[in-house]
């Protein structure tokens, strides 16, 4: 028996010695040696284990639809997995890797000889040219024209020169005003101290010149400038809903419901708080808008429904270079 055992043992030793790496000649260390730190090692291993548990927990949270707050649990599990692995990295960096602080030269600030060679190379290579200025000019021209040629197709991105669509309006004489529910707006239903959103009947509601804000002002408070005489329908006034400053919808109607009833009712844009006076033709009373709110002339037809008398008195929406504006100066509030 013992012979068999000896044979097995010696065979195993031979096998192991074959598998084991050959001894290498001793060499100088690249990284200096350091003391082992078994506690930090254990901590790092523990953190890696914790991260793995969290990773599995993420898969579980993903798979189990019965759990409430799945998003929160998944975020928690995945986030903690990352944090645990990351903390393991920090532990390794601080306690398990030898802290080396090395120094070296920043390197040369410049290479004057190389610079000189490069410059000379370029100069020498052009020594056969006799009309250098003309040559440079034609090279510049080649670059500029080719660049322009390659950029020209960008004009296909949109109707670049056709700005008619910017001033197009769906409002015509007689166009009926409809509410958000698509039903015609009846003058008798328009109350004070609230606002109504209206659209031209049958038109695209998303177009900038489509939407209106309609309010009824208290009797006697209307103070329209001469150019807007007759724009109201018995105290009912209609303005473009799109702010002339930056194009947001005006959806605030500031009208105090209790004393002191001051300041006067105003239409306000919630984006930058441009404030317009509905009693004076939409003039700017505060905020960044540089142009009054376009007013739409309205009248009440025989069935008591509101209709447009024509289109707006000013271009709708934010301004651009060269757009005509009737009244650019904000006026003092009345």
């Amino acid at each position: 028996m013992s012979r068999v055992r000896d044979l097995v043992v010696s065979g195993a030793v031979v096998l192991v010695s074959k598998l084991a790496p050959r001894p290498r000649p001793p060499r100088e260390r690249v990284v200096p040696p350091g003391e082992p730190s078994p506690r930090a090692e254990l901590l790092a291993i523990g953190l890696l284990g914790l991260g793995s548990v969290c990773s599995l927990a993420f898969i579980a949270a993903y798979a189990l639809d019965r759990l409430g707050g799945q998003t929160q649990l998944m975020g928690l599990a995945l986030g903690l997995a990352f944090v645990a692995f990351g903390t393991a990295g920090i532990v390794i960096a601080r306690h398990l890797v030898v802290t080396e602080e090395l120094s070296e030269d920043y390197g040369p600030e410049e290479h004057p000889e190389e610079q000189e060679t490069i410059a000379a190379l370029v100069e020498d290579s052009s020594s056969r040219l006799t009309r250098k200025r003309l040559f440079k000019l034609s090279l510049f021209g080649a670059g500029a024209t080719l660049g322009a040629a390659l950029l020209a197709p960008l004009a296909s991105l949109g109707p670049v020169l056709d700005l008619d669509r910017f001033v197009a309006s769906p409002w015509r004489r007689g166009t009926r005003l409809v509410g958000e529910d698509g039903r015609p707006l009846r003058a008798a239903d328009i109350e004070e101290r609230t606002f109504y959103t209206a659209f031209p009947e049958g038109a695209d509601r998303e177009a900038m010149a489509a939407s209106l804000v309609v309010v009824r002002l208290p009797p006697g408070s209307l103070n329209l400038p001469p150019a807007n005489t007759g724009y109201d329908a018995g105290g009912i006034v209609a303005y473009s809903k799109i702010c002339t400053h930056a194009g947001c919808a005006i959806s605030l109607y500031r009208t105090p419901l209790y004393a002191p009833a001051d300041p006067a009712p105003a239409l306000v844009c919630p984006c930058h708080y441009s404030t317009f006076d509905p009693a004076t033709g939409g003039t700017v009373t505060f905020g960044p808008a540089g142009r009054k709110l376009p007013m739409l002339p309205v009248f009440v037809d025989g069935r008591g429904e509101l209709r447009a008398r024509g289109t707006f008195d000013d271009p709708v929406g934010p301004s651009w270079w060269g757009v005509r504006s009737r009244d650019a100066r904000p006026r003092a509030p009345q």
């Binding site: 990284v31 993903y62 799945q70 998003t71 929160q72 998944m74 975020g75 995945l78 986030g79 990352f82 944090v83 645990a84 692995f85 990351g86 990295g89 920090i90 390794i92 802290t99 080396e100 602080e101 090395l102 120094s103 030269d105 920043y106 390197g107 991105l157 949109g158 670049v160 020169l161 700005l163 669509r165 910017f166 659209f199 509601r205 177009a207 809903k241 400053h245 930056a246 194009g247 947001c248 005006i250 959806s251 919630p270 984006c271 930058h272 441009s274 700017v284 505060f286 960044p288 540089g290 929406g317 934010p318 301004s319 270079w321 060269g322 757009v323 504006s325 009737r326 650019a328 904000p330």
Partner: protein, 445 residues
């Protein structure tokens, strides 16, 4: 094993010398040098979560009536774009986690970039020979702001639509070409043609990320070519000698750890802290808006500027020449970024210092730079605060118009005061340093 792999690679690429040099590349050590790293890691999270989101997003603005699992919006008309993000947030697992993590990562990315920029500015790290690195960083910041804006615009909820309307107003206000430019970008007048959203989508997921990635690579390459800057302390740093931890083994686990912790924190935020609950905003229509609207914080300085400027249009003979949004939406950011781009030239001109700099200043070492920088930062910050005046009105009841008038005055006074104060503090700190230095000298004697 390791030897075999290294031999395999070296025999086929001859890269062993480069690799060896790379592994022993030195990282000067200071906590503030990690801010740029955090930005890089947030970018990685953005790309990862973003890839997931692209697989579910639909860029069509054609209209659809919603019949989904979120009952409050039942029967509402909306675009396919908004519906796809709604479904991603309510139906797809783990869509909400990925979307919120993506949004949080964008915030962390931009915070980290801005803090990194402030560190670079106030320590003079942008000076010769590192101006290129600095300018590329600034271009990356601008690209990132645009990328973030397009990102939340793609959702097409009510808030993002209002943001696009403002962007359109600002584009229109550009002198000479505003209307033509807006028409090109939007494929017609607002709210734009059918090509507009697909264009934004490809820009957000391909053009700009590739641009940011490329600039990032050049930025990092430039850093390594001239080595990182360093502070001077007791470890023997000089303008000629860099002192630091080698990439391997010292820096590698540290950077990897920082990456994983950054990613972990962003995922924790994405899972536990709600951000941009788009189902509450509802779909966008040009005729709808909501009160108290605020963009993502990193555009707060622009909305503040748009709100603060009084209602001036430049008008000649009843024709608008320069519309109002130009001042706050174009001119103001141009001035701020223009200052940041030109400052290295200005400083050289003022101080006559044309030398190479590898050792960083502490803010007190350069009182003029610190004062000017603090002034500009304060200027932008007050404009940013003005953008939140409406929230103050809602929360505390202060009159909105009064607040704006106060800000219109403060925005010019406070930056000057802060700059003066910063200069004074720097000079005083220098004085304290000198006294301390003299005392140590005396003790040594």
């Amino acid at each position: 094993m390791i030897r075999g792999a290294v031999r395999f690679i070296d025999q086929r690429t001859s890269s062993a010398p480069l690799l060896r040099k790379g592994l022993r590349y030195l990282f000067p050590d200071h906590w503030s040098f990690l801010l740029g790293e955090v930005a890089l890691y947030a970018f990685v999270v953005l790309v990862g979560t973003g890839i997931f989101l692209t697989l579910f997003y639909d860029d069509s603005t054609s209209s659809v009536v919603y019949h989904g699992s979120y009952k409050p919006l039942e029967g509402q008309e909306m675009t396919h774009a908004y519906k796809s993000v709604l479904d991603l947030s309510t139906v797809v697992k783990p869509g909400l986690l990925m979307r919120q993590t993506h949004h949080w990562a964008a915030n962390v990315f931009i915070v980290a970039i801005i803090l990194h920029l402030l560190r670079v500015f106030f320590t003079g790290a942008y000076r010769k020979p590192r101006e290129l690195t600095y300018w590329i960083g600034l271009v990356m910041l601008m690209t990132t702001l645009l990328e973030g804006y397009i990102g939340y615009s793609l959702v097409d909820d009510l808030l993002s639509g209002m943001g696009l309307a403002i962007g359109y107003g600002v584009a229109l206000s550009i002198p000479f070409v505003g209307a033509n430019l807006a028409s090109l970008i939007w494929d017609g007048p607002f709210p734009g043609g059918p090509a507009f959203f697909p264009r934004m989508f490809i820009t957000h997921v391909l053009f700009l990320p590739v641009l940011i990635g490329t600039l990032l690579a050049i930025h990092l390459l430039l850093v390594t070519m001239k080595h990182h800057t360093q502070f001077r302390d007791a470890r023997g740093q000089t303008e000629r000698k860099v002192v630091g931890v080698p990439a391997f083994p010292g820096q590698a686990p540290r950077s990897l750890g920082l990456f994983l912790i950054t990613a972990g924190v962003i995922f924790l935020l994405g899972g536990l802290a709600q951000i941009n609950p788009i189902w509450l905003w509802g779909p966008f229509h040009t005729y709808a808006s909501t009160n108290g609207a605020q963009p993502d914080w990193y555009l707060g300085w622009l909305i503040g500027a748009l709100r603060l400027v009084p209602g001036w249009d430049l008008v000649v003979a009843n024709r608008t020449v320069i519309p109002n949004p130009f001042w706050g939406g174009v001119l103001f950011p141009l001035v701020v970024f223009g200052f940041a781009f030109l400052w290295p030239f200005l400083e050289r001109r003022i101080t006559g210092d044309y030398a190479f700099h590898n050792v960083l200043d502490r803010p007190r070492d350069a009182p003029l730079r610190t004062a000017v920088g603090m002034g500009v930062v304060t200027w932008v910050f007050i404009v940013f605060l003005a953008g939140s005046a409406d929230r103050v009105t809602v929360a505390l009841g202060f009159d909105y118009e009064t607040q704006i008038w106060v800000y219109r005055v403060l925005v010019w006074i406070v930056p000057l005061l802060v700059a003066g104060l910063a200069y004074r503090v720097c000079v005083e700190l220098q004085g304290i340093d000198r006294v301390e230095h003299d005392r140590q000298q005396a003790e040594a004697v």
